[in-house]
Point group: C2
Chain length 355, copies 2
Amino acid sequence: MTASVTSFDVARLAQVSQSAVSRSFTPGASVSEITRRKVLDAARKLGYRPNAHARSLITKRSRIIGLVLSQLENLFYPAALQQLAERLQRDGYHVLLFVNRNADADADDLVGEILQYHVDGIVLAAATLSSSLARQCADASIPVVLFNRVMAEAGTRAAHTVSSVRSDNVGGGRAVAHFLADGGHRRIAFIAGNEEASTNLERERGFREGLAERDLRIFARGVGNYDFAQAQLATRELFAAGLERPDAVFVASDHMAFAVMDTLRFELGLRVPDDVSVVGFDDVPQAQWHSYRLTTVRQPIGPMIEATVSLLQNYLRDDPPSPAENVVVPGDLILRQSARGGATPSAQGGGDARL
Amino acid sequence: MTASVTSFDVARLAQVSQSAVSRSFTPGASVSEITRRKVLDAARKLGYRPNAHARSLITKRSRIIGLVLSQLENLFYPAALQQLAERLQRDGYHVLLFVNRNADADADDLVGEILQYHVDGIVLAAATLSSSLARQCADASIPVVLFNRVMAEAGTRAAHTVSSVRSDNVGGGRAVAHFLADGGHRRIAFIAGNEEASTNLERERGFREGLAERDLRIFARGVGNYDFAQAQLATRELFAAGLERPDAVFVASDHMAFAVMDTLRFELGLRVPDDVSVVGFDDVPQAQWHSYRLTTVRQPIGPMIEATVSLLQNYLRDDPPSPAENVVVPGDLILRQSARGGATPSAQGGGDARL
DNA sequence: CTGAAAGCGCTTACAG
DNA sequence: CTGAAAGCGCTTACAG
């Protein structure tokens, strides 16, 4: 093992002080152009790069953002992950990843691990945060952003130190209700995601409100827990023989909606949308696929990531740090062919319509 | 901003030396149970956790693995990412993520950034590595594992310092050829992924060899570059009016195979598998979905991740470090309903068959 | 602009 | 088992 090369090695080769080496790698530091050139030359020869850990020890900035994820099988999250990582890389930050399979469990443990790395910020796209950990982050001046969720305990102290970014779930749910009601549906079912998740709670609330505004209510309800297989089961129950069948289903996520459509078509022999309309939520890339052409509420990932990064950076830039914020990004209902009243099917596909 | 709490703060509160605090957090260090308890108590009260950066400066181990990814829209990679992160977390390692959208470009830049963090290992699941960077990693004793790819320049020095893990792409390609030929197909097309990628090269080679063994050759060929939209285009060209149509298509990835099936069915009005058989590669979760029921070659993610982590850990454990290895994990052809000669369709779905 | 020196928060010989 | 001290590789006042 060749020992790793340090700024002293570079200094020796470049015939300058170690401080000069450091300055040459610090944007804005005062070094003459000639010194910097000597240093950079020597550094290149030796393959030197400043040690990020040593640097972070002094600057108190690790340029690392901790990200907690689960639900990677739902394509909304890989897409968000990719955009977040790219966006942060452009600003010289990097993502330290933490995965937990059982959604809301263990979030505290993971954040504990994250804290060891003295990350500059934390993005939680799985689970939410306990109040005690939220306070620890606040004490350590580490901004926390909940991505696609909000804190359950709205009034608590924790809620004042933790930001959140989400799309307008309530508005989206309401728009779906109006769309289905106005499309002539009368037996409108709902398949929930994780019943405790804020996304599901808000979507369902908006949906109920929207139906009420049309003098309707949920005709039947199942729970899919944001899982493909569970959504299949829920569909079978909702459409069990002997029961009066729903004429439309609002599903709390696209990922589950695909399961619903497959079950309707291939197990139950029903046509979508002729027999049953299906509407999802997220607008993942697969929603456009011709096998599904899913009418759904788009969660605009770009703006959501942009808001997340702004929140993080405002906090890091400002002194005293800017307060927590709850950002809601509007989303559109995207009309495709999985629900009656949507866009008219065209031969070639293409044209999504927005409401 | 509350200053972050250090081992000295804990030492003061616990009435012990700073060394004792450090030892209490070091597994196997010699501390009396009573001292450790005092320390842990004080640490909990203060919310203390050892600073990972300071620790890594001394131990020369960051417990961070750098991971370079692109192609996140292909569900094979999110699944692999999730398993890798979970597996490493169990051993106290964490994943620092680097995303590059334009596949093979900029891999060197990214690895340069990674090196600053003095990661304990690098997994490349996108792009491959230049020889110069490979040498830098070797000099710094950082093991590199190519995931789902191999180095192009087999004979070079770099190839001796960089390990790889992949499934048996050649064998998989050959199995598909035999399966399609034996199923009575005679006009068998191929849609390539990224033509320079080792995965594509190997799958195509095995496929050609397998066809040759049945006195056949590729009937028509398109390039999808592992991209959904490009695979659509390739399909349109392969099945353009006026040409004699393929009776089977082997597609270099599942992700593209979905595009192929959709195009065949909904644009060209062909039945799968009655008019055209389609076979993919990867066995991503969606391949099981009832809309596709894709016959495909499974890349076994579990064993591939296991091999990746073993390679990393063997290298880190051994002194002198264990040499680079190229691991090939076998994969099975999974028979579903997208190709003739496969499993017979069952009413309820379920039963995948293996060849 | 430049160098010598202090110090970030730890681990680990070293001596007791 | 325990503590004092050195040192990991940096950045940044400080003095010139």
